[in-house]
Symmetry: C2
Subunit: 203 residues, 2 copies
DNA sequence: GTCTATATTAGGATAGAC
DNA sequence: GTCTATCCTAATATAGAC
C-alpha cells in the first residue's frame, strides 16, 4: 500500500474501507467521546457499516488504540532523539525539543490527544503509560541540566518547571485544530516565547 | 449535617457511609479510571458494599458527576468574581485570578480534575461544558483587556495567550497532589512567574 | 444503610453467508 | 469487505427484605 492511499480517495466503485481509513475514523471518535465511552458500534456507524465489519480490519478495539498510541509515542521519542543529537548543550536541546514537540503535537494531533488521555485501564494503556513515563524522565533530565547550565531560573524547581512547560504544550490538544485560525509554526514560536521569556512586555 | 461531618470520622459503630463520603469515593475513582470506565459496582466495591446501596445515596451515576462538576465550576467562578471585584485594571484582575485559579485547582483538585475531562457525552456533561465556556469567555476578555493595557506582549494573540496560560494551569491536575512534595502556595507563585516573566534567567 | 435477587439493555466479539 | 445472527458478559437501575 502506498503512503498516499491513506488519505486520498482513489478507490473506485464500492465503498470498502482499508485499515488506515478505519483507524483514522476510530481515533477521531475516541477523541470526541473518549475511548471508554466509544463502542465498536459507534465506530462502525460513523463509517456506515455493521460493527462486525470492523473485526475484518482489527483484532479488537484495544488493538486500534495500541496502534495510535504507538504512533504518538514514536513521534515524540524521535523528536527528542533529534534534539539531543543535534545540540551540544542541554539548553539548546531543550529549546529545540520544546519547538519540535509542538510540531509533533500539531502534526499528529489525534494520536497525541489519545495518548494524553490514557488512564491505564488495560494492558495496552499501561504499556503506553510506562513508555511515556520513561520519555518524561528523559525530558526532565534535560530540563534539570539546562537549569544547571544557567538557562533557567533557580527559584523554580526543575521538575516543576518541566511539568509547567510540557503542561502548557500538552494542553494544546484541548484547543488547537489544524483547520483552525492558529498557524502551527507560529504557535511553536509563541510557546517558546511564553515558556522561556514570559507573556509580559519589557521584562 | 455539619460542615465538618464530611471528612471527620465521628460516627460510631457500624460502617454506614453518608452522602458526602460516597461522593468523595466516587469522584476519586472517576478520576483514577475515567468516568465512563467506572461502573457503579466499582464505586460500591471501593466502599465495601453492594452497588444497590449506592442508589440509596444518589439517584444515578450521573447525579454524582453533576454535583462534583457544580462544585468545581462554582469555585472557579467565584474566584473570578473576586478577582474582578477586587481590582481596577484588567492586568491586576488577571494576576489575581491566575494566582487564585491555582488555589482553587489545588484545593478542589478532584472536582476540577473531573471537570477538565468532561467530553459532553450526556446532558450533565453538556451543561457543564456550556457553563465552562461562558466562564472561559469572561477570562479571555480580561486577558485581551490586559494586553490592551500594555501588560502583555502584542506579538502573541490574546486568545492564544489565554489558552497557553490556562493550559499550563489546568495541566496541574495531571501531576499536582496535595500530599506530594510541591507546596500549593509556592506553586501559585511559580505559575505567575512562569507565565508572565518566563522560566529563563535574566531576561 | 445495606443486602440479595432480578429486569433490561448495551457492549465486545465470533460464525458463516454473500 | 461487509452483512445478519448470535453468544456471552457486564452495565445501570429497581424491588423488596433486613
Amino acid at each position: 500500500m502506498t503512503a498516499a492511499a491513506s488519505t486520498s480517495r482513489n478507490r473506485r466503485g464500492r465503498p470498502g474501507y482499508d485499515r488506515q481509513q478505519v483507524l483514522e475514523a476510530a481515533v477521531r471518535i475516541f477523541n470526541q467521546q473518549g475511548y471508554d465511552a466509544t463502542s465498536v458500534s459507534d465506530i462502525a456507524a460513523s463509517l456506515g457499516f455493521a460493527k462486525s465489519a470492523l473485526y475484518h480490519h482489527f483484532e479488537s478495539k484495544a488493538s486500534i488504540l495500541e496502534l495510535a498510541l504507538d504512533d504518538a509515542l514514536s513521534g515524540l521519542e524521535s523528536a527528542l532523539d533529534s534534539a539531543v543529537r543535534d545540540n551540544g548543550s542541554a539548553s539548546a536541546q531543550l529549546r529545540q525539543f520544546v519547538h519540535s514537540a509542538v510540531g509533533v503535537l500539531t502534526a499528529r494531533l489525534p494520536q497525541v490527544m489519545l495518548l494524553l488521555r490514557v488512564r491505564g485501564n488495560s494492558e495496552v494503556e499501561l504499556a503506553a503509560l510506562q513508555r511515556r513515563r520513561a520519555f518524561d524522565q528523559r525530558v526532565a533530565m534535560i530540563v534539570a541540566a539546562a537549569q544547571e547550565e544557567g538557562m533557567l531560573r533557580k527559584e523554580i524547581d526543575a521538575s516543576v518547571a518541566t511539568r509547567l512547560i510540557f503542561g502548557m504544550i500538552n494542553s494544546l490538544v484541548e484547543w488547537y485544530r489544524p483547520d483552525g485560525p492558529v498557524d502551527a509554526a507560529e504557535l511553536a514560536d509563541d510557546v517558546l516565547l511564553a515558556t522561556f521569556d514570559g507573556l509580559q512586555t519589557h521584562p
